[in-house]
Structures are given as structure tokens and as C-alpha cells.
């Protein structure tokens, strides 16, 4: 089976004095569904940052979608990022853009046609139940609504890899269910690899998944 992520002897750090992730080795199969858990401050978001190339490996090698991220060029990184959908822990919506425009961003970057773009955005807005908010700006939405916008944006360009950092952290059970269904749907129908950081793995989730736990800088598979 193809590997979408291969980490070997990977260490991650923001400065030389403190290593967050310490010499880990793991790989993730293409098309799999992965949960990552760990205590607050254990390095979950840090690991995701390295996967989309915002944090360069301190040591070792990290290959995502066939691209070695250690010392990667800007052009290669941009190419890779076009095929990744990210839900950030702090959402990172563009404040001066409407919800609709925010969701459109990856489609515009990927150069989709206007008609395709509009259809895709409309259908996603319906899926995350925000159709009536399309013209609003992020600050005019509740935290949970913003989180759903971030999810819609991450899915909009049918990426090969979705990285979601606590995508249901702010949501009630009903909205959380909605998000899980979207992620499972992408995984099953489009064979998208999904990596989700979360504190609680939902008991009702209907998908075969792998579970990694981060502790003391190590990443261990949980069975």
C-alpha cells in the first residue's frame, strides 16, 4: 500500500533547547483514517505543522505525498500544499473576506473555473449548514460556526490529505456529528487520507481508523 507520510528519525523543535517530538518513526497509508491524541502541550499541533511544511524537521526525514520536507523549496511546498486541506486549531479564516470567499480560497489557488467553484462552495455551505451565512464575515459568526467554515474550506478542493486540528473542539454533539460525517465521507468516497487531532475519539464513528498517541515526544500506536 502507498504511504502518504513517511517519518524517519524525525525530531521537531521550535528552538535548539527544547525538542517537542523526539526521533520518531512512523508511516501512514494512503487512504487511511488516523486519530492523534495526547495531552495539551504534548506536540499534536506541532506534528501537524511539520506535515504541512510550516515547521522544518530539526532532524531526520519527513516525506509527505512524495515530497521530502526537510529543506524543501518554496515551489515544491506550494505544490504540495495545494493538495492538502487543513483545519487549524485557531481556524485561520481571512477576516476581511466573506465566509463564501474563505471557502473558495483553495479552489482559487488551484485555478478552478468560476462555475465549478461556485457549485462546490454552495454544496459545502449546505453540508455545514451555513448557507444563510454565506455573505457574512468571520467575526460575525460564533466559534462553532467559524470552525465549520474552516472545515468546509479544507474540503473544498478535494485534497488528497486532510489535516484537522481538533475540528469538533467547539461544537455541540449535533454539529460534531456533521463534521465526522463529512470527514468519513471524504475518506470513503474520495479515498482522502484523513488525520485528525482530537481529545475524544467519537464512539459512534463508522470507519476503520488508526490511533496514535503522543507522549513525552514519542508517537505510539494504540490498539
Amino acid at each position: 500500500m502507498d504511504k502518504v507520510i513517511i517519518a524517519d528519525n524525525l525530531s521537531l523543535a521550535y528552538s535548539d533547547d527544547e525538542t517537542i517530538i523526539n526521533k520518531v518513526k512512523f508511516s501512514i497509508d494512503s487512504g487511511s483514517f488516523v486519530f492523534i491524541t495526547g495531552a495539551s502541550g504534548s506536540g499534536k499541533s506541532t506534528l501537524l505543522k511539520s506535515l504541512y511544511g510550516a515547521l522544518n524537521p530539526q532532524e531526520g526525514s519527513l516525506v509527505v505525498g512524495g515530497v521530502e520536507l526537510k529543506g524543501v523549496s518554496n515551489a515544491k511546498l506550494n505544490f504540495l500544499r495545494k493538495h492538502i486541506g487543513i483545519v487549524f486549531q485557531d481556524y485561520k479564516l481571512v477576516k476581511e473576506w466573506t465566509i463564501e470567499k474563505n471557502i473558495m480560497l483553495p479552489l482559487l489557488i488551484n485555478g478552478y473555473e468560476k462555475g465549478v467553484t461556485q457549485n462546490q462552495v454552495d454544496s459545502l455551505l449546505k453540508h455545514v449548514r451555513l448557507k444563510h451565512q454565506a455573505g457574512k464575515y468571520p467575526q460575525e459568526l460564533s466559534g462553532g460556526e467559524q470552525q465549520r467554515v474552516a472545515m468546509a474550506r479544507a474540503l473544498s478542493h478535494n485534497p488528497i490529505l486532510i489535516l484537522a486540528d481538533e475540528p469538533t473542539g467547539n461544537l455541540d454533539d449535533y454539529s460534531a456529528e456533521l463534521i465526522w460525517n463529512l470527514l468519513v465521507g471524504a475518506n470513503e468516497q474520495l479515498k482522502t487520507t484523513v488525520i485528525v487531532v482530537t481529545h475524544h475519539i467519537p464512539e459512534t464513528i463508522k470507519v476503520d481508523y488508526k490511533h496514535y498517541h503522543i507522549e513525552f515526544g514519542r508517537i505510539n500506536e494504540v490498539n
Binding site: 518554496n74 506550494n78 500544499r81 476581511e96 473576506w97
Partner: protein, 270 residues
Amino acid sequence: MKSIKNHLSLVIALVSILFSVQVLLISERSISAYKEKLAHDYSLVVVAQKKLNYSDIMKENSIIATITQLSPDNVIARLHTGMSAKNVALLKLTLPKFYNIKLKYYPSSSEIKILTKKLLRKPFITKVENFSNTHDLTYKLLLLFKKVITIFSVSMLIVTMLLIFKELKIWQFKHNERMNIMGLFGAPLWMRSAILFRLSIVDAIIASFVSFILFTLIASDDWIHEQFDSIGITVKIFDPFSDLMILTALAIVVSIVLSLLIILGHKEEV
């Protein structure tokens, strides 16, 4: 509403830059109009023993616009009571010749000195009256006027620039955020910057338009023209073609430079 607020800070800064530049243009114009008027009113009087060769003198002194001989009849008329016609004719021959010299533009004090010296070097020119005292006074007033306006406009420019540099940090922060997010989804630098350039060029055009309205209103106000009339000059306050072009070009250049500064200061956060 939201989008207006986004544009406002740069537009205001640009308008105040354009305002000070236009004020400089107007003061430059009024000074040259005033100089022209002064040049028109100012002349030297030269006394010579012989008839002057105009073309020689004008070739040596390019500042001279015209030389005209003053008729001696007035002088003679005052003396001529009881003089025979023959004597009057004789007197006319022996009297020195008077000339009025007009200049092409209003000279500086040193230009007057040089001209006077050069004229006196001619053997048959005996006296040059250059009215230098009056000239110096008006000329100094003119320079003072120009200095005051320049200092006013330049300090306004400096204050605006300082404000812009303070705002630049805020803009940098704001645009950096958006540019970062776009980058995280794989937008190349040109695409991240394109929005910034488009926004700032739109702002430049809005600022030029606001200045256009502002100066058209000012130019249509009678009060300001009366002020210039009172010192005997007419000045174009705002040319809707050439001035607008200058201001628009300037606004675009300034906003492109600011955009470049923001892009150069763009950092990806970790």
C-alpha cells in the same frame, strides 16, 4: 461598510500627501506668476553719452528683454522757457541719452549687481539706476513667502510619512495574516501579493479622486481667487488634466512602494 473601513486609513494618508504636493504646486505657480508680474513692473534706467548698440548689449546680457530710449522732450520742456529753437536743438544733441531696460524675468539681487557692473563697463555708459533698495525688499519678501509655504508643505509631508510608517506596521500585520493563510494553502508569493497590489492601487485611485473633488471645490471658490487678485496675479489652482495625472501617478507610486515594503516584511509564522 466593512470594506470602506479597510480602505480608509491608506486613502486618508494618500490624500494628505496629495494635498501637500498640490499646495507646493500652487505655491510654485503663484511665485512664478508673481515673479512675472514683478519683472513686468521692474526696469533699470541707463544714462549714456552715446547712442547704445542694442544688439551688442543684449547679446552680452541674455537677461534683457527690451531696451527703449526715453525721449528727452520732457526734460527739455521744463528748461525751454525763453530758449530759442536753435538752442533747444543744440541742447538735445549734448544731453545724455536715457534708456529704459526691461528684463525677461525678475532677477535675484546678485543678478542685478552683475548686470549693473557689466553695463558700467561700457565706456559710454555713465550711470545705471537699478532701484536696488526697493528691489531687494520685494525680492526678500517673495523668498520668505516661498520658504514659509515650502516649510508648511514639507512638514505636512513629513508628518504624513511618519503616520504612514506607523500605520505600515498595522497594515503589515493585517496583510501578513492573509498572506500567511493563502501560503498555507499553497498560493505562490505573486498570488499572495497580487491582492495587496490591487487593493493599494484601488486606494490610490480613490485618493486621487477625493483630491480631485477637493481641489475642484477649492478652485471654484471665489475667495481664493480674490486673494490672488489682490496681489495682481492669477493662478491656476487645479488643472483637471495635468494636475490630476501628476497626483494619480504619485498616489500609485506611493502605494506600490508601500506594498513592496509590506511584501519585503512578510514573514511566515511558525
